[in-house]
């Protein structure tokens, strides 16, 4: 009888362990990008120029980090699934070049009605593709 109790306890512990591993590793949720603190605050133009001057160094510094960008947005582009704020600083084989910030679907509405003189853009930097610096999962954030 005691052996059965021990077996039940062991099985329960194993089951709980499997559940925890599943939930917190295999099935763990994605970060809430809107709530993440910015790792760097920089103007969009400085960011672009840093990547142009030193792609390897800038990639190591910024890729995979949350950035808060200041500066004047040049235009807003829309596709079927994306809303993108674009800072243009150059022109090349793909047309305008600069920093492109893709907004989270549920935060995109804010961009269209926002006062951009009092807001920065915060987003996850996925890198420089030899044309533009790309920020994703963007939201608007008030200036300090």
């Amino acid at each position: 009888m005691k052996g059965v109790k021990i077996l039940v306890v062991i099985l329960t512990l194993i089951g709980t362990g499997i559940f925890i591993v599943y939930e917190f590793t295999y099935n763990k949720s994605k970060p809430d990008y809107a709530e993440l603190e910015a790792d760097y605050q920089v103007s969009a133009e400085e960011l672009y120029n840093e990547f142009l001057a030193d792609q390897v160094g800038s990639s190591a510094k910024y890729n995979g980090k949350m950035l808060q960008l200041s500066g004047e947005i040049t235009k807003i582009e829309r596709t079927d699934s994306l809303l993108i704020a674009v800072y243009v600083f150059n022109e090349g084989m793909f047309g305008d070049e600069g920093v492109r910030c893709t907004f989270l679907a549920d935060k995109a509405q804010n961009l269209e009605n926002a006062d951009l003189s009092t807001n920065d853009i915060k987003g996850f930097c996925s890198g420089y593709n030899d044309v533009d610096v790309i920020l994703e999962k963007c939201t608007l954030i008030k200036h300090d």
């Binding site: 994605k30 990639s59 047309g95 492109r100 890198g127 593709n129 030899d130 044309v131 790309i134």
Partner: protein, 185 residues
Amino acid sequence: MKSSKYLILFLTILLFSTVLNAQKYVTKTGHIKFFSTTPMENIEAHNRQVNSAFDLSNGNFVFKVLIKSFEFEKALMQEHFNENYMESDKFPNAMFSGKIENISDVDFDKNGDYSVDVKGNLTIHGVTKSVEQKGTFTVSGDGINANAVFKVKVADYDIKIAKAVIDNIAEEIEITVDAKLEKLK
């Protein structure tokens, strides 16, 4: 006299660049899907920020994609994809650079679907391989829709899969490309 020469030179350059641009189609919001299927599980990821350019004058065709922009259903898959397999800090981009070999078969003034033969170099994970694929160009008033579906062998690009998940990831990954190219203004 000297200034009029400069003016002619400037106008020639302007005209030349306008003609060149008129023959170029681009997008920065192309879509690439990555799909792996095994009896254990299906894994797919999407990247909707693909740069692509096509030059009508010579058939040159380019795709560029940031690895970190691929989005997976599960955070852990995305993490493993970037950190363990694609090493996206070390190799942030993948690209294709090549040519449409049968460009003369496509009538860019007539709407419709055209089968195209694409040949060029595909670079993934810092490894470049020569590839030849079939694709489709759909010509419409809005531009060109470029589509292709092809398979890539993981081992060809020196991507090492951990033994623990070897049954979960296919040896060949299916890549679907869908890019709506618009005339460069």
